[in-house]
Symmetry: none
Subunit: 206 residues, 4 copies
DNA sequence: GATGAATGAGTATTCATTCAT
DNA sequence: GATGAATGAATACTCATTCAT
């Protein structure tokens, strides 16, 4: 849970490389070289390549852990709270997009023996908070009731990753000619699109 | 383009394994064993592991190619046509979910030297057809105009894959206790959710 | 001994490739492709790669077989006959330089199970003829007697191959800027040098 | 340039095997086994089989580097100096005959991507020294002038290798019934023959 | 605590050859 | 007689990990 400087250095490089070229595609040599540490150090610190990934999950999953609560307790109209919620989710995913991408890659990998419990638990918590909020809105008649509440999160995150995972395609489609422009688009127009999507689904009237 | 029986056998096994344990994680030995062919045969038929993946893309991408047109030409009200369109997209993705998953994994892999042109072209075509349809609906006043038309596809596909890529999580969340139940859910409730999402975004009145 | 057209085609390609990239470095696939025949044909015609080399030796060794005799029987002064002899040797080696090079490579290869008897026999014959001629000259007082007669051949052939095997080096050293110029040099100046060398060794007076 | 004990062990085995069965014919497994080291060690130490050969060249080429100078500076009559020079060349080649043989094999191999610059440079240096010595002798009227000075080296080395590369043939021809006898012959009679050859070419009077 | 050296198991690919047709 | 398809064995090399120091 508490990593020293060199460990964090390794974790960051690993996160980058795992996201860019996959878990299997990344060799510990590559990580070691990029992080400017000895190869043996990775086994020494983390035990194995798989345990390094688990350490990375632990390191990042803490960050996934919600500021959702902080939004929830605010005294805002449901609509605005909904926007804030979506915006927060996108921001959080964006911040940890690399680790999320790795998880998306590896979570269903049948061969890997990696402990995703922390991730799953956190995901369940998040969705629980959202579900409760939606229920509340529905009870108060602000939100529609004929909605697959449990799937709302999938739409938010899924839309984000569909664009992120097809970055070169969408850069061309949306005429974004730099990585900065793309990144900026993700945090403005794409976020807006997702907010609009969720609001359309939930709000009774325009 | 025209593969013999053994080649198709290899392609199918490769598709399955690539989707399950990743491109790097899958060894040609593994494919050969599972497909019950000699290891050398894969190099013999496809040249290399990477070219095998390219062959798989070519083999499947033809199938991606649209029945979209067939829906477009039907004389249906816009709303129903929209539902049909989404349903078709989900079905098509579902049918080729494995290859799509591989693409999602590998497309942004900076190290891989694989030709995704056919995929990109097909994706562009699909989105073009959808965009044209939405434009038409907007012109006729049936669809709203304040919508990120180019992102609609991402929401459809993204939602699907977010659930599919987190299958164990959603199986538990949605209390689906078998793979069949999950599969069935994808093609009914999930499809319905996505249809509803897109309609909410586009339709002027409930 | 009597090869058909396709076999000769294969032999010629094999000779070229064996000389250029070595016996081990040359694959039967490469030969087959270059000779524009089916891969299986080589095994079919010659039995194996090693037997192909043996066939090549048989095919060429016949050509080594002397016109030496024809020079011997001519009624020429010893000095001129000596020049003619050296010139003939160089020409003959040059014509079959590729096969000779292969032999030089492979003859001492301890692992290879190739029959070099024909080559050895021919070599012995050649040297025998030369030795007899030199003996004759010595008896007649034209040639010196304090000479390692058995090594004369090695000096002739060795000088040739030392230049040929270091072609790029000697091209630069001798300022020969084309393969034609090099080839021409081998047959004029180099031949002359070798003639001069042998004459210096054998003749009593300048 | 500075190799540890195990590296030298590998280099020596590689030199032997490359000379005996060729570069392509020698597998890294074979080298590893003979040198009694792990296969991976060869890649670990040298990077690749080709780089191993380059390392070998570097390791040996230093040894090629002349004691020629030491002979040159001695205050000896030209004739004796010439004998000493030839003797030195033969000795040096003999000592490194294996590496020289490999070079003779591989230098003109069009496919190989190996850096022979060090070898070429050393060869040029050697020939340069010899050429200068011969020029000096010619100026002083001791050596003949109608000689292909640049080809003298080829005759020395070529004669040596023609015998060495046909060892089984010459063993029989010269009735040398052991490897020791052959080796001894190379350093006495053969050397003498080469000395005599060069002297015959260069000296004005008997 | 940290690491250079070392390794056994694994990788994709290529090889010469065989065999059914 | 000739060949496309197929294969077991071998190739060089890379892998994550271990261990002596």
């Amino acid at each position: 849970m508490d990593f020293n400087e060199k460990q964090i250095q390794i974790l960051k490089v690993a996160e980058k490389l795992f996201a860019e070229i996959g878990f299997d595609g990344t060799s510990v040599r590559h990580i070691a070289k990029e992080a400017d540490v000895n190869v043996a150090m990775i086994s020494y610190y983390f035990g194995s390549k798989e345990k390094l990934l688990e350490a990375l999950l632990l390191y990042r999953v803490a960050d996934f852990k919600m500021e959702l609560e902080t939004v929830m307790v605010q005294n805002l109209p449901h609509v605005e709270k909904l926007d804030a919620l979506v915006s927060l989710m996108v921001n959080r995913i964006h911040r940890n997009r690399r680790t999320h991408k790795i998880i998306n890659y590896e979570y269903t990998n049948t061969c890997r023996q990696i402990d995703f419990d922390a991730y799953v638990e956190q995901k369940r918590d998040s969705l629980g908070i959202i579900e409760a909020f939606v229920k509340d809105g529905q009870n108060k008649g602000v939100f529609k009731t004929d909605v697959h509440t449990k799937l709302l999160g999938a739409t938010v995150i899924g839309t984000y990753f569909q664009v992120y995972n097809n970055k070169p395609f969408y850069k061309k489609l949306l005429e974004l000619d730099s990585d900065e422009a793309f990144e900026n688009y993700m945090l403005t127009s794409l976020t807006q699109h997702i907010q609009q999507t969720i609001k359309s689904l939930l709000l009774n009237e325009k």
